[in-house]
Amino acid sequence: MAANTRTPSVARRRATRPELPARGIVSSHDRRRPSVRGSLGILQGGLLVALVVVGLGPILWLAKAAVTPTQETLRDPLGLFPTGVDWANLATAWTRAEIDHYFVNTLIVAVGAWFFQILVATTGGYVLSVLRPRYGNVIFGLVLATLFVPSVVLLVPLYLTILDLPIVHVSLLNTFWAVWLPMGASAFNVLLVKRFFDGLPREIFEAARVDGAGPFRLLWSIVLPMSKPILGVVSVFAVIAAWKDYLWPLLVLPDPAHQPLSVRLPAIAPYLELDVFLAALAISTVLPIALFLAFQRLFLSGAGLGGAVKG
C-alpha cells in the first residue's frame, strides 16, 4: 500500500512545484532599483537580439533565399527583401530536383526507425522492469554496457554485418532494414522506458494477473496505455534522430533511389542552380522545425538530453 501511494504523491509534488524559483541571483529588492533594472534590461535585451540574429537569423535567411532568384542572392546576399519573389524555386526543387522522392525516402527511414525503436524499447523495458526473468539482469547489464561503447567502434563491423548477416547470410545493403534495425538497438531508449515502467504501480499488474491477463495482454492493455508520456518522448526523438542521420545511411544506402534527404543534398548540390538548391535545403528543414514548435516543451525540458548528447 505504501508503494501505491508514494508514486502519485511524488508526481503531484512535481506538478505543483513552481518552475521558477522564488528569486534568482538578483534579489527582488534589487530588481526594484532603477539602476539594476536598467542594466539587467539592457543585458537581457542584448541577449534577445543576439539570440534572434544567431538562432533565428540563418533560418530566416534560408527561408528568404529559397524564394529569391539566384542572381539576387549572389549580388546582395544580405538584402532584407527580395525584389522579385520566385515561388517557382520551391516547385522546381520539389519536382525537377526530385526532392519529393528523397523526402518520401526520409519519411520511410524515419517511420521505420520510429517503429523499431518503440518496439525494442517497450518490449525490452517491459521484460526488464515488469516480467523480470532470471536472465533479465544479464541482458540489462549487456544493454547498459553498449552505452559506454562510442559509436565509432561500431561503424566498420556493423557495416560488414549489414553486408552479411550472421547465420542467415543475407545482405541488407540498399534496403531500409539496414537503417531501421541498427537504430532499434538504442540502449538509451530501453533505459528511459524501463525507468518509466519501474515507476508504474505494481499493484495494477498484480490485479490484472489475478484477472487472468497474460504477459501480452498486460503489455498491450495495461502498461502501454499508461505510458503515453514516455512513448511520446521516445517517438519525437526517434523521428528527429532518423531525420538527422547522415553517415550511416550514406554507407548502407549507396543506391540514390533509396537515399534520404540528408545523404542526397550534398550529392546533388553541384548539379543544382543555387536558388533551387537553397529551396531544397529549406524544404528539408520544415518538418524538424514544425516538430520542434509543436513539441517545444518536450525539447526544452531536457527530456531528450541523452539523445542530444549522443547525436
Binding site: P21, R23, G24, I25, V26, S27, Q44, L47, G55, L56, P58, I59, D76, P77, L78, V120, G124, R132, P133, I139, V143, T146, F148, V149, P150, V153, L154, L155, V156, P157, L160, T161, L165, P166, L181, G184, A185, A187, E206, R209, G214, P215, F216, L219, K244, Y246, L247, S262, L265, P266, L278, L281, S284, T285, P288, F292, F299, L300, L305, A308
Partner: protein, 324 residues
Amino acid sequence: MTTISSPLRATAPAPPPPSPPRPHHSRRRTPRQWLRDGGLSTLIIACPMILVFGVFSWFPIGRALVMSVQETNLVTAPAFVGLDNFVFVLQDPLLGKAVTNTLWFALLALVFGYPLPLAAAVLMSEVRRMRGLFSALAYLPVVVPPVVAVLLWKFFYDPSDTGVFNTIAGWVGLGPYPWLQDATSAMPSLVLEATWAAAGGTVIIYLAALVGVRTELYEAAEVDGAGVWRKIWHVTLPQLRGVLFITLILQVIGTAQVFLEPFLFTGGGPNNATLTVLMLIYDYAFGSSLGGNYGAATALSLMLAGVLAVLSAVYFRVTRPWSS
C-alpha cells in the same frame, strides 16, 4: 493427434493458477513449470531486444575486437595478423596530423562553446518574462538537420567579397577572408558552425540545472555584502559544478569523434588541415584511394575508444572530490 496432444489439452483450458507475487525460486524449475509461469511468452517478448541488440550491437562490438587483429578484405577468409593493423595505423604519417587536428578542434570547441552557453544560461535564468522565447531561440539551431546546417554555412563562408560572412565583415572594414580555403582559418570556421549547431542543447542543460540552485544561499551572500559577480562565482557556479564537469567531458568525447563538419565542409583539406581521426577511419574503410582496409579502421577506432575511456576514467577520478 489425440494421444500426443491430450496432455496438453488437459492443461491448456485450466485457468492459470492465480500465481502469488512471483516468488523468486531458489531451486531450479523444470521446463514445464517454466512454461506454465509464462517463461516462453517472456522470452518471446524479449526477442526483439535480444535479436536487435545481439545482431546490431553485441555482435559487431565483439567483431571489432576480432577484426582489429585480422586482415579482412571481403574476398578471402580473414587471416590473423597479430598487431599488424595497430602497427600500420601508428606508422601512418597521417595519424599525427589527424590527432593534432582533432585535439585542435576539441580545444577550439571548448574555447568557443563552453563559456558562452553558461553565460547565456545564467543571464536567461534571470529573465522573468518570455523565458520560453529565449530558450526556444537558443535551441532552434539544434533542430536544423546537421547536413542542412553545414551546406548552408558552406554558402555563408563563400570566400568572395560578396559572400555572406565577408559582406558582414566588410561592414566593419574587414576581410574578405578565405574561411574554408585557408589552412589556418579552415578549422576555426568548422568549429564556429559546430558550436552554433550544438550550443543550444548545452544552454538547455544549464537552464535545467539552474532551476535547482538553492536560493537561500543568495540571501546569505547578500547579508555578507556580496555583489552580483561574487554571488555568481561563489553561489551559482559551485552548485552547477556537477553539471559543468559532465558537459565538459561529454563535449570532449563528442568532439573527438567529429566527422560531419570536416567531411562535408572541406573533405579534410586544405592540405589535410581538417583531417580528423574519424575521417581517417572512414578513409581506411570506405575512402576511394585507401579504402577497404577494414582491419586498420577497426584498430584505429578501438584505439580512439580506448583513449576516450582512459580519459574519462582519469577525469572522473580527478574531479570526484569537487563534483559532489
